[in-house]
């Protein structure tokens, strides 16, 4: 072997190390992802790497290395997007935004990555195209879009509206900029010819085009989620303004962007006086962080005139895009209907009445629920706020947290509710149906001049679900499954501080989220906690009993051991599922698994309802672990200090 051949062999062996590393990563993704489209991409990447010509010099190695870096980024992205144990509640919201923007959601695979970094919003539209030099050109890949969302969307209702900006990027990427009229606008507005372009000019050109895109995306976000988009943008930017050194690489300054948002919020007017008042109050509250009132924001360095030109071009592009979007109705049209549900501490799936229910869409839920909370409207008539004896601050935190959970829950089930509405509910003829003879009629129940309905939502299939005294309940989406631990047993509470080894109950359970129609097997004698899909709201003068459906009972399924539902209870129920049979039971999320029977009690005063007490389970929408440590009875036993029973 001559020197050159030896050299090539060395390069080949270096290359194969890196290629093998990448192959391992791709194979790992392929094994773990449940998505066919991603498995397909993995196969093609594996095939590309296996056939890759070994390098013959150092430059080939650099080329290979850069490709592997890109593949690695790509695989990381797909791994974070497609392998998770949590259902993305945001998808129906993205679906609705795409519909408005005329992007066919059903022909795409859309994923959401929940980034741990604050402020980290992003979108990769049609990711496979990034690897167009690597993946076979002849193949028509199913478009995969990946949205990246920061953790704050889980803790504040309005922040999710900033996804509107990212939808804007999807719109621009879907549409491109080849429209000749866009060119003429740009030519008309930018400074005219320069003799020679330097590298700085090239950078400036990139910066200007990037600024234009960002402004257009803000406009699109605004049109989708106005006025909550502006509120969220202000809240997001004021808490982490970009430093001067990082300013302006690809995005215009926060100063210029939120100035526009302040203007929009100040100008916002609806036909509803309460909303207008709420916005006046929000506007006043925001004054403290107005860019003109403090110096935490840096202004763009590209000059005021150029910035104005950029904004003008962005407006022109936006004006050309807008007619191509579907018309957007007044976003607060259903305000009163949604507010009624929120005041009653019910997740706003639908307007509750004995008529055909009107369902609410994801975007209007984000906007109206954010207004309800941010505009302090809950203080006017929210049932919990009025009845609870807790401190003001604590009540606000509880309401905020509950609203967020309810919003996520309602949006996550929107596809199911919408399909049920189209296929089953819309066609219902209330007069001809026997529903008026069932518990359905209790949805509009009034006692003592006050609404006191029995509510089971969302409505999926009322004809088959409602009986005279009972309503069928479906298996929900969250599961708490016992996991093997190194602890000998559960120690539910401390007594006299003598249980230092006590572990949180979380240590004994794994939480899983599934989607409607997902299947799982409940093995013989396996025990797990699951929630009902339906949210129950009982009046103060009715209690409920949860029973298994005999169809499942005969197969060995037990659904509950603690079957009573307190009068006035609100929330999804936690079922205790156990397979008592000898054969594994296939279960499916969404299947009718239990029934709720309601029984009246003699009580004429509603003052002591659910919210006035100290109920441990507050409007839950998922399976919950027992809160045994909050059990007041334990406190009592500790306080008794019984002298003859010192064992503890």
């Amino acid at each position: 072997m001559n020197d050159e051949a030896k050299g090539i062999e060395t390069l080949g062996s270096i290359a194969s190390t890196y290629i093998n590393l990448s192959l391992e990563k791709i194979k790992n993704l392929k094994y773990h992802t449940p998505k066919k489209s991603i498995k397909n991409l993995c196969d093609d990447l594996i095939s590309f790497l296996k056939k890759y010509e070994p390098p013959i010099d150092n430059i080939d190695l650099i080329d290979l290395n850069q490709k592997l870096l890109t593949i690695s980024d790509f695989v990381n992205l797909l791994s974070s997007a497609s392998i998770k144990e949590k259902v993305s509640w945001e998808l129906p919201l993205i679906h609705e935004c795409y519909d408005i923007c005329n992007i066919d959601f059903n022909k795409r695979e859309v994923f959401v990555i929940n980034s741990p970094e604050i402020n980290n919003y992003g979108v990769h539209y049609n990711v496979a195209k990034y690897l167009s030099r690597i993946l076979p050109k002849s193949k028509d890949y199913e478009p995969i879009d990946i949205f990246i969302l920061p953790p704050e969307v889980e803790y504040d209702m309005s922040y999710i509206s900033l996804i509107g900006h990212e939808i804007g990027h999807s719109v621009l990427l879907n549409r491109g900029f080849d429209d000749k009229s866009i060119v003429s606008h740009i030519l008309g507005y930018l400074p005219k010819d320069q003799d020679q372009l330097s590298t700085d000019d090239m950078e400036m050109a990139a910066k200007i085009s990037s600024y234009i895109k960002e402004y257009v995306c803000d406009y699109i976000g605004r049109v989708l989620f106005s006025p909550i988009f502006d509120l969220a943008l202000i809240k997001s930017f004021c808490s982490s303004p970009t430093s001067k050194t990082n300013l302006g690489e690809s995005h215009p300054s926060e100063y210029s962007r939120i100035k526009e948002s302040f203007k929009k919020i100040g100008e916002y007017k609806s036909e509803n006086k309460i909303i207008n008042k709420a916005f006046e109050s929000i506007s006043k509250g925001l004054e403290i962080i107005h860019p003109d009132n403090n110096k935490i924001y840096y202004q763009d360095t590209i000059g005021e005139d150029l910035l104005k030109t950029i904004q003008l071009i962005a407006t022109k592009i936006y004006e050309m895009i807008i007619p191509k979007l579907k018309p957007i109705k007044n976003i607060v049209d259903n305000w009163e209907r949604i507010r009624k549900e929120l005041d009653a501490s019910r997740p706003p799936f639908e307007e509750v009445s004995d008529k055909i229910p009107k369902i609410f869409k994801p975007i209007e839920l984000v906007v109206n629920m954010s207004i309800y909370f941010q505009g302090n409207i809950y203080k006017i008539a929210n049932e919990f706020y009025k009845k609870s004896k807790k401190e003001e601050k604590e009540k606000t935190i509880i309401i905020g947290n509950t609203l967020i959970k309810h919003m996520h829950y309602v949006i996550s089930l929107y596809d199911l509710i919408n399909s049920a509405y189209k296929i089953r509910i819309k066609k219902l003829n209330m007069e001809d149906s026997d529903l008026s003879e069932t518990l359905w009629k209790f949805r509009s129940r009034i006692t003592g001049g006050q609404p006191s309905p029995i509510v089971i939502i969302p409505t999926i299939d009322p004809i088959n679900q409602y009986g005279d005294n009972s309503v069928d309940l479906r298996l929900g989406t969250t599961f708490l499954i016992h996991k093997p631990t190194r602890y000998s047993h559960i120690i539910p509470f401390e007594i006299n501080g003598q249980n230092p080894k006590r572990q949180s109950l979380d240590e004994f359970y794994n939480k899983y989220e599934l989607q409607v129609l997902d299947e799982f097997i409940l093995h013989p004698h396996q025990y797990l906690l699951a929630n009902t899909l339906e949210y129950i709201s009982l009046p103060y003068d009715y209690f409920g009993l949860v029973l298994g459906r005999s169809t499942w009972g005969r197969l060995g399924l037990s659904i509950a051991t603690a079957t009573m539902v307190q009068p006035g209870y609100k929330g999804c129920l936690t079922l205790e599922l156990r397979n008592l049979g000898e054969t594994p039971l296939p279960l499916m999320v969404g299947v009718r698994i239990a029934q709720l029977c309601v029984i009246p009690i003699e009580l004429k005063d509603s003052r002591f309802g659910y919210f006035a007490g100290s109920g441990k389970y507050f409007c839950p929408v998922s399976a919950e672990l027992p809160k045994v440590e909050e059990d007041k009875d334990i406190e009592l036993l500790k306080d008794l200090k019984l002298t003859h029973f010192r064992r503890f």
């Binding site: 013959i56 080329d63 870096l69 992003g122 491109g176 930018l190 005219k192 320069q194 372009l197 690489e249």
Partner: protein
């Protein structure tokens, strides 16, 4: 958008390096890596960019590339080739001369002297190193770049 722009930038660097490397092999009449007509077009486009003297066209070009990942390598290519030409030749005339040689080499049935091919190959290697270095620099600033929306 920091998260995705880094990925997109890496794609851009990778595409640019890949086109240059394929061009390098094409110059040497090696068929190890395929230098496609599409690659030629992108490289030609990048050479044209240097001659653009209309700022607004450049802005538009950037906007247009937004939806075309493969072609977006043209800007990186343009920068890198310019940089290596400036490094290699102090004289503007010589720069222009080699600029033309590169352009001509991309035309069908072009025939370049071996000595010139050698110089162009050096320029291309220099350009690849330049882009690779940019990519590393970008890696280093990852932790500082934190533009959310």
């Amino acid at each position: 958008m920091s998260y995705m722009s880094l990925f997109e930038k890496n794609v851009e660097y990778s595409n640019a390096i890949s086109i240059l490397n394929e061009y390098r092999h094409y110059l040497k009449d090696s068929h190890r890596y395929k230098f496609t007509n599409n690659d030629k077009e992108i490289l030609l486009e990048s050479l044209k960019l240097n001659n653009r003297n209309r700022f607004h066209e450049l802005v538009f070009y950037n906007l247009r590339l937004f939806a075309d990942v493969e072609k977006s390598a043209a800007i990186e290519l343009s920068n890198a080739i310019n940089n290596s030409l400036n490094k290699k030749f102090k004289d503007d005339e010589r720069r222009k001369e080699y600029f033309e040689y590169i352009r001509n080499s991309l035309k069908p049935k072009s025939s370049l002297e071996n000595s010139k091919k050698g110089v162009i190959e050096d320029l291309i290697i220099e350009s690849i190193k330049f882009i690779s270095n940019q990519s590393k620099k970008r890696d280093r600033i990852k932790s500082f770049e934190k533009i959310g929306l």
